[in-house]
């Protein structure tokens, strides 16, 4: 999901501002970006959640039952009102990364799985949570997701279901495949998905549409997102190493902006917005 507007509901200001350019970047470099917006819904008894979300986000318009049915015919009658964020987009992350890798290879970039023997002029360390040995304020935030196949349902865009306990998003991947995500647990455990998380995600999806009851579970996934205390990314420089980390749940949304800042710093010496420590690790912002 490239959902800078929806994420702006709780995220710090740079997420919405810098995330706005992500869809265009991914389209240019990887393709496959679908600009169909995001539909945000609640179940009838959680209607107050929709009002709260509307107050704290921008770039949406209210849609009634008819509007929901015209955007997503298969969700007709499932909700009386919702919010439509027309500017948002989605892509298939795995396809996008593979395309990016192939295009880099076409330009002569070689990928290695081991550290090169020769010491490079610059090292960009983007190891995520594994870089905690160098970045002590990095923490893990566990996320769990499911991939389903549901032949009885077609969606054109990501749908977010607001719920006070179990917020959920469903992203269509095409061919009846959907990604359901994602839990947020303050834990760096990377093991398998838990029964509770699967129950919650599936019951929320089932409440959105009973057709999910007959879906196949293709895949479950769990991992820990790397995050700093304000959940914003950082670029930190120690000698000839630049650490790029802390993208939290905004990897695809903020990676283009972070990579751009990194390149600007290396090539032109521009101080990045996300640099809070200087060469010796001294706090500067």
């Amino acid at each position: 999901m490239l959902a800078h507007r929806c994420e702006g509901e709780t995220a710090e200001e740079p997420v919405e501002r810098l995330g706005a350019a992500a869809a265009a970047w991914w389209e240019r470099h990887a393709g496959g970006v679908q600009r169909n917006g995001t539909l945000v819904l609640t179940l009838a008894r959680d209607r107050a959640e929709l009002d709260r979300f509307a107050r704290r986000s921008r770039g949406h318009r209210v849609v009634d039952a008819e509007g929901i049915a015209s955007l997503e015919p298969d969700l007709a009658g499932r909700a009386g009102s919702g919010l439509f964020f027309a500017e948002e987009a989605h892509l298939s992350p795995r396809v996008a990364l593979e395309t990016l890798r192939l295009r880099l290879a076409d330009r002569g970039v070689r990928l290695h799985r081991e550290a090169p023997a020769a010491r490079p002029e610059w090292t960009v360390d983007a190891r995520g949570l594994a870089a905690r040995d160098c970045l002590p304020d990095l923490r893990g935030v566990r996320g769990e997701m499911l991939v389903l196949r549901c032949a009885d349902l077609a969606l054109s865009r990501p749908v977010r279901l607001l719920h006070p306990r179990i917020p959920l998003y469903i992203v269509p991947r095409g061919n009846g495949v959907f990604m359901l995500g994602a839990t947020m647990v303050e834990s760096d455990r990377r093991g398998k998905v838990t029964v509770r998380s699967v129950l919650e995600l599936l019951s929320a999806a089932y409440a959105l549409h009973p057709a999910f009851g007959e879906a196949e579970i293709l895949e479950t996934g769990a991992d820990a997102r790397p995050a700093f205390p304000d959940n914003l990314p950082r670029l930190r420089r120690r000698g000839r190493t630049l650490f790029a980390n802390g993208l939290y749940r905004h990897g695809f949304l903020l990676a283009p902006a972070l990579a751009g800042m990194l390149a600007d710093h290396l090539e032109r010496g521009i101080r990045p917005e996300f640099m809070d420590q200087d060469i010796d690790g001294e706090v500067t912002a």
């Binding site: 923490r139 893990g140 647990v185 455990r189």
Partner: protein
Amino acid sequence: MPVFYGVEVGSALMLGTAQYPSPATLAGAFRSSGAGVATVSLRREAGGGQDFWALVEGLGTRVLPNTAGCHSVKEAVTTAHMAREVFGTRWIKLEVIGHADTLQPDVVALLEAARILSEDGFDVFPYCTEDLTVCGRLVDAGCRVLMPWGAPIGSGLGLNNPYGLRSLRAHFPEVPLVVDAGIGLPSHAAQAMEMGFDAVLLNTAVAKAGDPVAMARAFALAIEAGRAACLADPMPARDMAAPSTPVIGKAFLS
């Protein structure tokens, strides 16, 4: 300031640490409010929550670990032991949930868990209802603090049963009482303090506010005002008007 198990805390505001937009916002809410106690859950984070727990300990506030998410005596007792190991404290906020939709406490299991933990040297803070009998039994089981709900957890409905809470205050004048759960607005917290409660515990009302840092401060002010009002012995309410200036001699009949 409230005294729990012989420890005086710096504020009657007890603040939960869940659901904030980020740990930085969480820390800001504690700074702006001066909250006296930070509650933290262990159940779901078990096996990987060390980083977050370290952040909570870094708030510089006394930590009250809880057994949120536990549905049985065994789960709650195990979680309490884990909390004692992790945070090095005998304090435990004991929650045993009995109803999935309303998150009402299972008071039968709560009593049993409270007895087991008290005998094992824990200082138990039981999340309970305002039922006088249940509260009496919790005190018999060794609890020296009672934490009745105001309304279901996360509902923001305020004090659903003011009569019951007043009655509880009157029946347990010596036991520190904390309204836990259901608080949505600073006025709800002020109301509890005006009734003579010793403290208020809340989480969602701050964490899910548009500006949690500002809301935490609003709660701190309301709690201070409510406590001051209680100590100042409020006037009784009455149905008939009582002018504050004499009307005899004024042309009030003209």
